[in-house]
Amino acid sequence: MKGKKARIALGMAICLSASALAGCGAKEGNTEGGSTPESSSAVSGSGTASEGKPVKLTMLGWEIYQQAGMEALAEAYHEEHPNVTIEVQISTWSEYWTKLEAMANSGSLPDIFWMHTNEFSKYADAGMLAELTDLYDEEDKDYFKNNFPDNLVGNFTYDDKIYGIPKDVDTVALVYNKDIFDEAGVAYPDDTWTWDTLVEVSETIKEKTGKYGMLADDTEQEGWLNTIYQAGGFYISEDKTKAGFEDEGTKKGLKEYIGWQTEHDFSPNQKEFSDLGRVERFVAGEGAMMNLGSWGINNLYINYPDLNWDVAVLPKCPDPVKGDGRASISNGLAYATAADNPNLDVVKDVLKFLGTKEAAVIHGENGAAIPAFNNTGDSWANNYEGKNVKAYVDQLEYSVQFPYSKSKSAWYPEVEATLLEVYSGNLDLDKACEQCQQVVDENLAAE
């Protein structure tokens, strides 16, 4: 009996120490890849990484359709600098920020990671990101200004310092199913369309084919934000001190977009969208039109080759409160790195490469997204043979920067929930706007 107990205890002790050892081993494995301080100083100096010890870097992003593009970039860099290999890891949007924050807290951020406007100021404010303002000083002091749109550089500027290399830019356009238009015998959307045309055609389609005309679900960036700016309203003011929900244009835009679902029967309602989303319904051939961000095009192009779809610019507001009635919400991502990255010199050299025109074209040609570098949009649009994907690039001309503020993660869920009440008919729009205005203003004031 006693012998047995002793043996069990011994066994457990062995198990414990074994697992402790395994833990140590894993830790060593993680920091492997040349993150020892020596290896970075070995290649520092000129700022290039063409010589020196082999360095393994990781890049983290969230869009699976961009994996090929990212890997092509990694490969292109590796060819010039054989000692540097970059491993591309793709997470999902819903997990990415939780993951990145945990990594930031434990000091193990990936060497290069994508940054989004929603989260940027939080990271920059905490001093997590490496400053990149003078990255191109040797070539051109105004490199960022000369080669990227101002708003994209501005997105990743904090206290006049640049913390991200603009990666890509996106816009929102109207995607339509040609077969349904043919069936209903109406002309395809073009740049003469206004909101009224959209409503009229959607009603005709619903009447003639029984299919949905417009799939207008409750969504921010691809939905009501566009109509708000088309109508001349604003989401939050440019100095980020005040929300625009009480503005006439904002109300007009919201009313129009929400109305496509609640006032007409050519769109599924929000309950129905909970069963099956906008994109799923579109690819199932249930609806003729939907708004879609340029990042969603790869899904349609790759996964649904039989679907007869095309792209048009968003219809404009016929009688805007101010402006010309045109707008498309646009945002851009950036590559960033951690301020305490042990291989900062190597990583900076990679980032420098990622900000070149050459990298932008590789990025575009591999179908990742519209490159941020000026006038390289066509390299992306040419990937989609027979589709007028260029509409996305054309809209850059009058695109509106996707509004954000430091406390957006706190106020946006409130706005989202309040507008949902409007969709379900529990709240009228004026009251909802009042509530949104209040909650956003409070948060902006506390920033």
Binding site: K5, A6, I8, A9, M12, L16, T98, E101, A104, N105, K122, Y123, D125, A126, M128, D217, D218, T219, Q270, K271, E272, F273, S274, D275, L276, S409, A410, P413, E416, A417, L420, E421, Y423, S424
Partner: protein, 296 residues
């Protein structure tokens, strides 16, 4: 105390040590830390500001908070009685001499083994308004169909409750079955000789003798129902118009902590969840004296 006893106690302690260490690291420390965190306002990346009881006063004053507490309690009322009584019924049936008993036991236990995320995904399709098997069956039976199960505020929480009942009733049945099998057959033989009907046997023998297990199952089930998160999170998307009537305490905690980044406020919410569970469990421990039989 004999030398032998001390030696045995020491051996016992060492054997329990891995579990004790595990509990301290994984349960006890996080618990203390959470309570500590609930007195702070969180900033990004570990910048915290002490605010005393502010999180709690803010919480108790917000109407949304009472709504989620109400939803959670409603969820408890939906799931607990059906699961526990259903579990007992299944256990009694599985305890009979029937063919393929082990197969049935495995079938009833199976939902417990499946990951909750997978369960939710599958049920989401079953509940689909247009193509879901639930509505199609109702239609075939000429019952009211076309119900927006998971997007109608009236039925969404009920739908979540149904899935939870489905996935946990088998587990409770297996626990209760083990309780039933601990009852000596001689009681039933004696009762039959005295001419007791099966219902009388159930009421006078089975129920009192299985009551300690039943009490355990009830406590665990209530705790689990107050802690519900995964099913709601997986089934109800955030653009679902029924979301407000489905948010439970832990769902709201997730929103506050990981979406809105109010980690301090989130911590106070979990503390409230612990308090709520403690109160309900305490009431049960007082109440058990009336119906749980330990001495036979």
């Amino acid at each position: 105390m004999s030398k032998n006893y001390k030696k045995e106690a020491l051996a016992g302690f060492f054997m329990a040590l891995p579990t004790i260490i595990g509990l301290i690291i994984l349960n006890f420390y996080p618990l203390c830390r959470t309570v500590y965190m609930s007195f702070f306002q969180s900033g990004s990346f570990g910048k915290w500001k002490f605010v005393g009881l502010d999180n709690y006063t803010k919480m108790f004053q917000s109407s949304g908070f009472w709504k989620v507490t109400g939803n959670t309690l409603l969820f408890m009322v939906y799931t607990v009685p059906v699961t526990v009584i259903g579990g007992l019924l299944i256990a009694v049936l599985l305890d009979q001499k029937i063919k393929g008993k082990t197969v049935f036991r495995a079938i009833y236990f199976l939902p417990m083994v499946v990951a909750p995320a997978a369960v939710a995904m599958v049920w989401k399709w079953l509940f689909n308004t247009d193509f879901g098997i639930v509505n199609l069956t109702l239609k075939a039976l000429h019952l009211p169909s076309g119900i927006n199960w998971i997007s109608d505020p009236k039925t969404a929480l009920l739908a979540c409750a149904l899935v939870t009942i489905w996935s946990s009733v088998g587990y409770d049945a297996i626990l209760l079955l083990s309780g039933l099998q601990g009852i000596s057959r001689t009681y039933y033989e004696a009762a039959r000789i005295d001419g007791a009907s099966s219902f009388q046997q159930f009421k006078k023998i089975t129920l009192p003798l299985v009551s300690p297990t039943l009490f355990f199952v009830l406590i665990m089930r209530i705790m689990a129902s107050i802690k519900v998160f995964d099913i709601v999170y997986m089934m109800i998307e955030k653009t679902n118009p029924a979301i407000r009537s489905c948010e439970t305490i832990l769902y709201n905690f997730y929103q506050e902590t990981f979406v809105k980044n109010n980690k301090g406020y989130g911590a106070s919410m979990v503390v409230w969840c612990v308090i709520l569970i403690s109160i309900i469990t305490l009431i049960q421990f007082i109440g058990q004296k009336k119906w749980v039989t330990y001495d036979v």
